[in-house]
């Protein structure tokens, strides 16, 4: 008797919660907004606390980027729909040899403090960010420019070693030259055909003269050249921006004020989103995604969008027998991507068929070919060829909801190949990354890549070139290296993309990593946002916002 009461009492809140989810939603019409209401409106969006001072060259994480992105417009911006790069502040970026680029700026652009944006503002900002002693997070983005090693010498034994980094021999990169107020020249250390595409990242933003005069004052009140300007910041609570009416770019915003509200948890932000006091949440919390609860809560206010994320597993070449390419193919063909994406992710993932994300310039459909297609018979043939016996190990951190699919992948391999496969969990993402970077993994491990800029190059060079920054599995193939180098030197982007595609084909023959699936993201908007789009980085496309 006592027992049954306990159960019924504790079950009550659950029952309440279940009833509650049945309600909510309601259809909104997407007929477009009311222009007058939009012009004076204040939009509130979710924010995480920025990790660093608000300086574009020193911000590479999501919280800071979300504030700085609307405040700065670089030479190049990415289209929110196709994610293709197009000139924004740049009138033109010309080159004949993919080594020297001449940049012409559009005239009449102003910073929020009224001073004009000149070539010098770009060159000074880039030099400041790249300069070693300034210790910025974005410094490495400038490593392709000639003279970078003089302003930012490598620490000979890494940050962990006892030796300090050598003093820089120059304060400015020799590859940057101001020609006149609206023209400057970039010389790279080596030809790099897709360089202009990389310039859309915030670290390449111009900075006003006032920054170099008083950095502390700038950090307290950042001044940019983008569609929105800084109003105030209450650390840990909210940041306010307002429309910059003198903005010259295409992506003008129609509403007036933007409040970036810092939430303690994604769950509390979701509660505000459902009740209508928050206008945009870039990623729904797990409790809303479970069982597609958000469909009942939000109805057509949910925004589903592809992101530039590709989930994969990588083979550590430094552990035998994981350097065997036949084994790579066997494992890859033993994974039933279709079934796992449907069963575990309920369709929020799309099986990958290439090493490059489909939203990227240069993507070719099916580049991974039969190796990324489920085929147990062929998988068994490759396994026999590899001569592998024993147990396969799959390692992943479990704090990001990776356990379910990692176990499913292991089971799929086990069923298709008939070899044992165990999933070995690591507690946190930090621990996982630390072991991956230190080359201490002992089995196949989870890896994922989020593109920095939308070019096929970014999906290949950093990951598969010998000694590249994120080539954690220590994969090395001279043919691939040669092809990538050739592509870097191609005279045009089109010629380069063709060569990168050839390199991708070569990589597919080795399968140093197994592409699994690309990720869709579910964001949510409030009822009053009549038009709101999400970009592939999950952020709200501010210029699209209309109120009704």
């Amino acid at each position: 008797m006592r027992r049954s009461r306990w159960i019924s009492l504790s079950a009550m809140p659950v029952a309440l919660a279940l009833v509650a989810t049945g309600c909510g939603g309601g259809g909104g019409d997407n007929a477009g907004g009311d222009a007058a209401a939009t012009a004076d409106a204040t939009i509130t969006i979710n924010e995480t606390e920025p990790e660093n001072p608000l300086v574009p060259g020193n911000t590479t994480e999501a919280g800071g980027s979300r504030v700085l992105d609307p405040m700065f417009t670089g030479l190049v911006e990415y289209d929110p729909q196709t994610y293709a790069a197009s000139n924004a502040m740049a009138e033109s970026i010309d080159t004949t040899d993919s080594k020297v680029f001449t940049v012409k700026l559009k005239k009449g652009w102003k910073f929020h403090d009224g001073t004009e944006v000149k070539a010098k503002n770009f060159v000074d900002a880039w030099n400041w960010t790249a300069y070693g002693p300034n210790a910025t997070q974005g410094a490495s983005f400038f490593s392709k420019i000639q003279g970078y090693s003089d302003v930012h010498p490598d620490d000979p034994d890494g940050a962990d070693g006892p030796q300090p980094a050598p003093e820089p021999t120059a304060k400015e990169m020799s590859g940057l030259k101001v020609i006149d107020d609206h023209t400057f020249e970039i010389t790279l250390a080596a030809p790099f055909s897709v360089f202009p595409v990389t310039l859309g990242y915030e670290v390449f933003s111009p900075m006003p003269d006032s920054f170099f005069a008083d950095q502390k004052a700038f950090e307290a009140h950042p001044i940019g050249n983008g569609p929105m300007k800084f109003v105030s910041r209450q650390v840990g609570t909210e940041i306010r921006l307002t429309r910059f009416d003198d903005y010259q770019g295409e992506d003008k915003v129609k509403f007036k004020d933007l409040v970036l509200k810092v939430y303690q948890s994604r769950e509390s932000a979701y509660a505000d989103l459902v009740s209508g006091s928050l206008d945009y949440l870039e990623e729904l919390p797990a409790n809303a995604l479970a069982g597609k609860k958000y469909e009942a809560d939000l109805g057509d206010r949910a925004i589903v969008r592809d992101t530039l994320q590709l989930q994969s597993v990588t083979f550590p070449y430094y552990v035998k027998p994981y350097d065997n390419t036949d084994l790579h193919k066997a494992v890859s063909m033993a994974i039933n991507r279709e079934e796992i994406t449907q069963r575990i992710f309920e369709g929020t993932r799309t099986p990958a068929d290439a090493f490059v994300h489909p939203l990227t310039d240069g993507y070719q459909k099916g580049a991974c070919g039969e190796y990324c297609t489920y085929n147990p018979t062929k998988a068994k043939e490759y396994l026999a060829k590899s001569g592998f016996t024993g147990q396969l190990k799959l390692q992943s951190n479990t704090d990001g909801g990776h356990q379910e699919w990692a176990e499913a992948v292991c089971n799929s391999v086990k069923n298709a190949l008939g070899v044992d496969c165990v999933f070995e969990p690591l507690t946190s993402f930090a621990e996982h990354r630390q072991k991956v970077n230190a080359h201490e993994m002992t089995g196949i491990y989870r890896s994922g890549w989020l593109a920095d800029y939308p070019s096929i190059e970014n999906w290949l060079t950093p990951l598969y070139r010998t000694g590249a920054s994120s080539n954690d599995g220590l994969y090395s193939n001279p043919a691939v290296d040669a092809k990538l180098a050739e592509a870097d030197q191609a005279p045009s982007k089109e010629a380069a993309n063709a060569l990168y595609r050839e390199a991708e084909k070569l990589i597919a023959e080795d399968m140093p990593a197994i592409p699994l699936w690309t990720q869709k993201n579910v964001a949510g908007r409030s009822e009053r946002l009549k038009n709101a789009q999400s970009d592939p980085q999950r952020n709200l496309v501010l210029s699209s916002v209309e109120i009704g």
């Binding site: 002693p133 210790a135 997070q137 303690q264 509390s268 009740s275």
Partner: protein, 308 residues
């Protein structure tokens, strides 16, 4: 009395030193790289790591780091976070909010809990007594996050009676609902504690004497019985205020209260050692002061207790 307080205050010094040292060591001993996640999805540049290690003395042995930290602390410098914000500013932002939340919770807890306890203690085995027992059992058996989420869902989202989350100002009025959620569990304990204390003391000699003297029932209960029965309850309330200050992470998370609990939680995750130690030092201090106040209150409540 004065000497007793002085001795207690002096005892706080080693306790404070010990706890801050433990916290400091633990923050940096948690496995994981302090720079993981600082620079987004990629590793931080070497120059950045070197600079940060220099600024936070991370290359020194822990004991030296701690020494430097304490020296700064003594001169009133709490240090700054990696985003260049003064720790003292963050504390000044969040502490008043949490203090308001804790006070609201404490008042709700004390008023409802003690009233229910007295009512049921005086009517032993009656209907009201059973009602209090069953409802407190109900409260004790539900975890706070369930209470919080259900209240938020029903009142905030479905009925729209209250805003589902607290605004950035977090006024007393807005904190009533989160305070109620935070207090719900302790409220049940206070009620049960008061109830058993009252029920026990009801049969005490001094109560019988008071009744025999012909004092009115109200005075017997309100002055003689209640004062003595409240001693265990006050102990509980005092330590509870301390745990409300630092332990409201769940409630703060649900209702988006920009307070200390969530800040500590996030600072531990992002390895903001200076922030964690600064906050915890203050919490330890608050805890120590509260226990001292409780001890002094004993003497007020029960004249038989004296401090020499």
């Amino acid at each position: 009395m004065g000497r007793y307080v002085l001795r207690r205050l002096l005892q706080m010094v080693p306790v404070l030193l010990g706890t801050t040292f433990l916290i400091y060591v633990m923050v940096w001993a948690v496995p994981g790289d302090p720079f993981a996640g600082k620079c987004g999805e990629r590793a931080c540049p070497d120059a950045y790591i070197t600079e940060m290690r220099e600024r936070f003395n991370l290359d020194d042995p822990v004991i030296v780091q701690y020494g430097k930290y304490m020296l700064n602390l003594l001169s009133g410098d709490f240090g700054e976070t990696s985003s260049g914000v003064q720790v003292i500013d963050r504390i000044a932002d969040t502490f008043p909010v949490t203090l308001r939340l804790a006070l609201v919770a404490l008042v709700i807890e004390a008023v409802i809990g003690i009233t229910a306890g007295i009512v049921s203690g005086l009517r032993n085995r009656g209907f009201l007594d059973s009602l209090v027992l069953v409802s407190t059992l109900f409260l004790i058996s539900i975890p706070v996050f369930v209470t919080g989420s259900v209240i938020q869902l029903v009142f905030g989202i479905q009925w729209g009676v209250i805003p589902p989350t607290v605004s950035s100002k977090a006024t007393f009025g807005e904190l009533i609902v989160p305070g109620f959620v935070l207090a719900s569990l302790s409220m049940a304990y206070v009620a049960r504690l008061t109830r058993s204390s009252i029920a026990e003391n009801r049969r005490a000699d001094y109560v019988r004497t008071a009744l025999a003297k012909g004092l009115p029932q109200r005075r017997v209960v309100g002055v003689h019985l209640l004062r003595n029965s409240l001693i265990p309850v006050i102990t509980f309330l005092g330590t509870d205020l301390g745990s409300f200050l630092g332990g409201a992470i769940v409630t703060e998370g649900i209702f988006n209260v920009p307070g200390v609990g969530g800040l500590i939680f996030r600072s531990i995750q992002t390895k903001e050692g200076a922030l964690v130690t600064g906050l915890v030092t203050l919490l330890v201090l608050a805890y120590l002061v509260m226990t001292l106040l409780v001890d002094l209150l004993y003497a007020v409540l029960d004249p038989r207790i004296r401090y020499e």
